[in-house]
């Protein structure tokens, strides 16, 4: 309880939304829209919009979950509501989930950098440098991390958005810009599922929510929805650009279609002619931010799990998490194996988490209103209004 009070008033609503938005996309964007197009062909755009709609609903669900006990993280309040064993299982699941997401992002971008820019550099060195940078970012606490994201992630996102407009100049088949009207439901659902790791990651809110100022929480939620809207607009432009440039038959053959279109972009006459490549390099910020957020969440969830509250607990878990991510990442021998793990395990378990955890917790909470009220008064004398 004392800790919960100390944590109040840390980050603003905009910082909350920035952190939540930086907590997804970074991992799946490199595959985008390969899985959509492989499954649904030209209908892939409908699958993407379906993913956006599902994410919006899941975000609402997660925010409702956060509001059960807004001053405590899920790892802290889950054992009190769901029973201790279930809470511990959920805590372990959450910690492993963050670990797997962090490792996946590190492997993925590690191979992108290794394949294109640094073929002679061992992947472990690239991954280790990214994870170390992320550890440093996370080590300074959520306020510093959120400010770093505002200073680094937002400009990078704006630059990417402007570059996407430039990508429209390489379009070869404008006819493909029109959404197809012969909609086929099953391929669209398959595509939406297989590409969903684009959005896996926004559940950082379950740990982040109590670290947001009481008064800014609802505003933070609204900003997070706006963040999703911007991601959907950018994703749509990106999808349309890639589709109308490469065509639906070529996209499934590309390992990282987004990187491919960025490599095609150039600004002749400008001092950096390979502009798209520069943007790909700048995406290091997005990936490192993503890993930093995972590490921060991982450390806090582990603290809640083992109930070790000390000045050494956060750095200990942070460094342990970073080492675990490095070890997991370097154990994956190549990008194909990483693809296999992501598709076979991370995607179903991640999606299961996003749907299962809020549904189960909210359902139990619905029947344990009196316990919730008691816990709310314990964790905070003047709780924020619910709704």
């Amino acid at each position: 309880m004392a800790q919960a009070k100390q944590r109040l008033g840390r980050i603003s609503g905009l910082q909350f939304a920035t952190t939540v938005t930086a907590g997804y996309m970074a991992m799946g964007v490199f595959y985008f829209p390969r899985e959509l197009v492989t499954s649904a062909g030209r209908d892939g755009i409908w699958a993407f919009w379906l993913e956006g709609a599902v994410t919006y609903l899941l975000m609402r669900l997660i925010f409702a979950l956060n509001r059960i006990l807004p001053n405590e993280t899920l790892g802290e309040f889950a054992p009190k509501i769901l029973s201790k064993p279930l809470g511990i299982i959920l805590g372990i699941y959450t910690a492993l989930y963050h670990l797997a997401l962090g490792a996946s992002a590190a492997i993925l971008f590690g191979y992108v950098l290794s394949n294109i820019f640094l073929p002679d550099t061992p992947v472990w060195a690239i991954i280790a440098s990214m994870v170390l940078t992320a550890t440093y970012m996370a080590s300074l606490g959520i306020s510093s991390l959120a400010r770093t994201l505002q200073a680094g992630y937002i400009p990078m996102a704006i630059l990417t958005f402007l570059t996407l407009i430039l990508a429209l100049s390489v379009i070869r088949h404008p006819v493909l810009l029109l959404p197809p009207v012969n909609i086929r439901a099953i391929p669209i659902l398959q595509g939406a599922y297989r590409e969903y790791f684009l959005f896996i990651g926004f559940e950082v809110t379950v740990t982040l929510y109590p670290f947001t100022r009481n008064t800014d929480r609802r505003q933070g939620e609204r900003f997070a929805y706006w963040g999703l809207a911007l991601i959907m607009i950018s994703g749509t432009i990106l999808y349309e650009g890639i589709m109308a440039t490469f065509g639906p038959a070529f996209i499934p053959l590309l390992r990282w279609p987004v990187v491919s279109i960025m490599r095609v972009l150039s600004l002749s006459g400008f001092f950096v002619s390979k502009w798209g490549m520069l943007v790909v390099v700048l995406w290091t910020i997005a990936v490192v931010s993503f890993i930093a957020i995972r590490l921060w969440c991982l450390a806090h969830d582990l603290i809640a799990l083992v109930q070790w509250h000390s000045r050494y607990s956060y750095p200990t878990f942070l460094i342990s998490g970073a080492l675990a991510i490095i070890v997991c990442s370097v154990s994956i021998p190549n990008a194909k194996v990483a693809d296999y793990f992501m598709e076979r395990f991370l995607l179903p378990w991640g999606l299961g988490y996003l749907i299962g955890v809020p549904v189960v917790t909210l359902s139990v909470a619905h029947f344990r209103q009196s316990t919730i009220q008691k816990l709310r008064q314990q964790s905070e004398p003047n709780p924020p209004t619910t709704g």
Partner: protein, 377 residues
């Protein structure tokens, strides 16, 4: 006053930053440019043994590069070095070539991919695939085909550029410099190869012996990756018109002794499936400049007549070319692709598009307008 813990934290930060700095430097990939031979042109042709590849690796020589960077241009001996490698795969050819060069052959600066028209489809496919997997290769180089010696074509000195590869890059990247914008980048070619219902094409480069010059006014047609035929210059211009790539096409109308130049415009393809009968319609809208006319000055009625006659001639040429491609069973216009994108069920019902393409009913509508007439009244 610093405590023990704060000193520890400070050291932890310093060590972290040092490690990050060391690993971010990309030290493993640090290759001084002097140790590298930057491949500007890569060429694929059949090797002496069946099923083998012969690859050309062309790079600028160090003296030529030094002169080029000073801005004085290459002079004296050949500005480029050529090495060839033979083998069953790209990697083996590369090894054979690397064995002849003291520096690191670097594939991250390729600007031209030259392909012999004699290259078989399986070899072409494996070469494309290998290049595609090369991380440093960014899929943006221009491609051309040639029926002549790759080495001769790729090394032919021009007075217009320091390096032969730059001549081709300048030519293909400047859309308005060519009669038709014939430049095809690697990713565009690879995309057409992968897409059903369209056949790729490449600009064909040839060397004329008298006078000594490079000619880039023809197009090599492929059926998937099998070379089929080369269009003559007039048909190449017509192909440009049908694909909306024409920029400087000219037309002589003998009856009026008139010449129209700078013919350019857009083309729209519409494909329909009427009860199993596929028809393709090309709507071509062109603008042109009147360069000369037998009567010296022109009237509005004459202009209308010229437009009408020019449209008819070009439409006839377009139809002739379309029929020719139907006879060759090659679809460089993407009629099948258009059908697939607009009527996917109809396209899926067709087993082999190449058997269907010759049966497609073709229609061409050309609307040629004369917008500019020069200074004469």
């Amino acid at each position: 006053m610093m405590t023990f813990a704060s000193i520890g934290r400070l050291w932890a930060k310093i060590v972290t930053l040092l490690v990050i700095g060391l690993t971010l430097g990309g030290c493993w990939d640090n290759r001084p440019v002097d140790y590298r031979a930057l491949i500007f042109t890569i060429g694929f042709s059949p090797g002496p043994k069946p099923g083998e590849l012969k690859m050309l690796f062309q790079f600028p020589t160090p003296p030529a590069m030094a002169q080029y960077s000073k801005g004085s241009g290459a002079s004296g001996s050949s500005p480029v070095g050529n090495v060839t490698g033979e083998g069953p795969s790209v990697a083996r050819c590369f090894n054979a070539a690397q064995a002849q060069v003291s520096r690191d052959l670097y594939l991250g600066q390729i600007q031209i991919v030259a392909v012999s028209t004699k290259l078989s489809a399986p070899l072409f496919y494996s070469s494309l695939n290998s290049l595609d997997r090369t991380g440093a290769f960014d899929k943006t180089p221009f491609m051309f085909a040639t029926a002549q010696s790759l080495k001769k074509v790729a090394s032919f000195p021009t007075t217009q550029n320091n390096f032969p590869s730059l001549y081709y890059v300048d030519l293909f990247s400047c859309m308005h410099c060519q009669t038709d914008s014939l430049g095809v980048r690697f990713w565009q070619f690879a995309s057409d190869v992968a897409t059903p219902g369209v056949d790729p094409y490449l600009p064909q480069v040839s060397l004329a012996s008298k006078p000594n010059h490079v000619l880039v006014n023809r197009v090599a047609l492929y059926r998937h990756l099998t070379y089929v035929s080369t269009l003559n210059p007039q048909n190449t211009m017509t192909l440009g018109i049908l694909k909306g790539l024409a920029h400087k096409v000219s037309l002589f109308l003998p009856r009026q002794q008139a010449t129209l130049r700078a013919i350019h415009g857009s083309s729209r393809l519409q494909v329909q499936d009427r009860h199993g009968h596929i028809s393709a319609m090309f709507h071509v809208v062109l603008s042109s400049t009147l360069e000369g006319i037998g009567t010296q000055t022109e009237t509005a009625a004459q202009l209308a007549l010229l437009s009408h006659e020019g449209s008819e001639i070009l439409a006839r040429r377009c139809l002739t070319l379309l029929e020719k491609t139907q006879k060759l069973d090659v679809d460089p216009f993407g009629v099948g692709r258009n059908l697939d994108w607009h009527h996917p069920e109809s396209f899926l019902a067709i087993k082999h598009w190449h058997k269907e393409y010759p049966k497609v009913h073709m229609t061409v509508h050309v609307q040629l307008k004369i917008h500019k007439m020069g200074d004469l009244k």
